[in-house]
């Protein structure tokens, strides 16, 4: 970041100290972040150095169709510096829910940041963009969210799609998706989009992605679906503390049974942990207090695409598209099996009638030829 305008900005460290944190707090924060990103011990210095020397990156944080739970999660991440510094208005040049400015001033701030830091700022998007009816379902300051996204994306260095709304449309994109809610990566072309799915994503994960950008100046390694590998390469199931019960075949059958009290695996009451890529089992939530499975609730797969439409939350079997809510693949399969069996039975009966005719004919033939030979 050699841009002159940016180097005049204070560094994160200066901001942290100015806010009244001690050097010790700062180092602890750097260590924690390095651990969350999955860096080695030796990289803690690198993180600290980056925060000390790099000027803060301007961030524009846009809110479209969403519930702000991503922001909520972010400001509740376990270290106060995250909320205080990374998300404070110091770092956020524009964000509808947290900035002090409003109305014309706010729009001005957005425009200024976009022109002043063209090509340098990080665009964070929370929420999906409705594309139906020319985008009128989500308008801010007289512009549709589509227009705002297009303008903001143009000069962005990178784009972070926060949460399932921005990554895959979440609940507003669930069938029948009346507003044609569309995830960010389908609308923005030619810019790297980092997907941080989850409803919401874990606060530490969000902070980790930002700190990675600050420390290394480039986007973290992404998987095939565009998610940072450091947090989304393992399934919840692979790091779940109930896994031994799964492997043993000990399952909760219903929520109030004895097995539930014993803490057995929640697979049969619909746990989507085996198909969900997230860090819940390791990082946990609310400063490491717990995560859904630890609290006795199956994972609903909130960080997976289409999780609202991909079957029911409390069952393994899934609704089978086009055959009504109550039917799953196995019901359809059993019906098909019955129809097949009936068809085969009919075929078999008819075959036997034919065969007995053939045998009759052969017998008659045999008798006739016997007569011929005698005669």
């Amino acid at each position: 970041m050699s841009n002159d305008v940016i180097t005049k900005q204070p560094t994160y460290y200066q901001e942290i100290i100015r806010k009244g944190y001690s050097r010790r707090d700062f180092v602890r924060f750097a260590g924690m972040m390095a651990a969350f990103i999955g860096l080695e011990n030796s990289a803690i210095g690198q993180v600290a150095k980056a925060l000390e020397t790099n000027p803060r990156i301007p961030i524009i944080w846009l809110h479209f169709q969403e519930c702000t739970c991503c922001s909520e999660s972010f400001i509740r991440s376990s270290h106060p510096i995250v909320a205080d510094i990374l998300l404070d208005k110091v770092s956020l040049d524009y964000t509808e829910t947290l900035m002090a400015a409003s109305g014309i001033q706010a729009e001005e701030a957005l425009k200024n940041t976009m022109s002043k830091y063209k090509g340098e700022y990080i665009l964070c998007v929370e929420g999906s963009v409705p594309t139906a009816a020319d985008g009128v379902y989500c308008m801010i300051g007289g512009k549709t969210s589509m227009q705002i996204l297009d303008e903001a994306a143009e000069g962005a260095k990178a784009i972070i799609a926060w949460g399932s709304c921005a990554c895959n449309g979440c609940v507003q994109a669930a069938k029948p998706n009346p507003t044609s809610a569309t995830p960010i990566h389908k609308l923005v072309k030619g810019k790297p989009v980092i997907k941080v799915p989850g409803c919401p994503p874990i606060g530490e994960v969000m902070a980790g992605v930002i700190v990675h950008l600050l420390t290394f100046g480039k986007i973290p390694e992404l998987d095939r679906l565009g998610r940072p590998k450091a947090f989304y390469s393992k399934r919840v199931h692979d790091t779940c503390y109930r896994r031994p019960f799964f492997d043993a075949g000990l399952f909760v059958e219903s929520f109030d049974d004895e097995n539930a009290q014993k803490g057995y695996c929640l697979y049969k009451v619909g746990c989507k942990g085996p198909s969900t890529y997230n860090a819940c089992g390791v990082t946990k939530w609310n400063g490491g207090t717990s995560f859904p499975i630890q609290s006795g609730h199956p994972c609903i797969g909130c960080s997976e695409e289409n999780f609202w439409d991909n079957g029911r939350f409390y069952e393994r079997g899934s609704a089978f598209a086009g055959f009504g809510i109550e039917s799953d693949a196995d019901t359809v399969g059993k019906v098909a099996l019955g129809v097949t069996a009936a068809a085969l039975a009919g075929h078999a009966i008819y075959t036997n009638i034919n065969k007995s005719r053939i045998i009759d004919r052969l017998t008659a033939e045999g008798k006739a030829s016997e007569k011929e030979m005698e005669g």
Binding site: K268, S275, T276, G311, A336, H347, K355, A368
Partner: protein, 252 residues
């Protein structure tokens, strides 16, 4: 039924299914049965209670393990069969499965009319005789190969994340195509039903052909031989894709 003495067929014994084809067939059948049983178990495990500690049990782990081992057997067996479609005899040839000629499609239609609708001609039940697969069966097997492919892609795609080996990792792009493991898993589960329906119809039709034609359809997958009328054999000789190909023929 004007006879001047009984009509007597001269049957020729033809070696249709070579040993590799037979081994492939039964390995495939065993693997599919194991995969379906363990697959159902994995999708909805039975409620088996136990007083043992979880650390002393690995029941579900074993069920999954059998599923994964069977899938490897299934996969390599499938690869072998594709190879044998180029290396095997004419009855195993890949052209037996893919409708590439008008004749193939015409034969499919004939089989459909005679064997499935059992239409009669002049009040007589017709017979369609083919030495290897008939065209309809061949085409259905082609569909099963596509189902095999779908199962290998989705199955190994789901497995890729758990494995450190490069082979399953080759499939890690598959769940990404479907937007994640959830839909991939559902496709894997739906496709399994095709196998079940196929197996039932397949076994029925094998019995049917043996039952009405008496040419050794059932035992052919054991010993490899079928019994075909001399005239049919002579006629078929002129229609097969590569009539010169060596075949082991013995007379009954």
């Amino acid at each position: 039924m004007s006879t001047k003495y009984l009509r007597v067929h001269r049957l020729r014994r033809i070696y249709v299914w070579e040993l590799p084809v037979r081994i492939y067939h039964w390995l495939n059948a065993a693997a599919i049965i194991a995969l379906i049983v363990t697959g159902f178990w994995i999708s909805d495990p039975p409620a088996l209670m136990s007083n043992q500690e979880a650390s002393n049990r690995f029941l579900f782990g074993w069920v999954r393990y059998i599923h994964f081992i069977s899938s490897y057997i299934f996969f390599f067996n499938f690869l072998f069969r594709i190879y044998w479609g180029f290396a095997g005899n004419k009855y195993a040839d890949w052209k037996q499965f893919i409708p590439t000629s008008k004749r193939f499609i015409r034969e499919m239609w004939t089989v459909f009319k005679i064997d499935i609708l059992m239409l009669k001609k002049n009040g007589e039940q017709q017979e369609h005789i083919s030495i290897g697969h008939n065209a309809m069966a061949g085409f259905i097997y082609f569909l099963t190969f596509i189902a095999f492919l779908v199962q290998c892609l989705t199955g190994f795609g789901l497995y890729a994340g758990m494995s450190g080996w490069w082979l399953p990792k080759l499939f890690s792009w598959v769940p990404a195509v479907f937007g994640g493991d959830i839909l991939t898993r559902q496709i894997h589960h739906w496709t399994m039903w095709f196998f079940i329906l196929f197996a039932i119809v397949h076994v029925y039709l094998v019995f049917y052909h043996d039952y009405v034609e008496g040419r050794g359809e059932i035992s052919s997958m054991g010993g490899g031989w079928k019994f075909i009328e001399e005239e049919v054999f002579e006629e078929n000789r002129h229609h097969t894709p590569n009539p010169e190909s060596s075949e082991v023929v013995g007379t009954a």
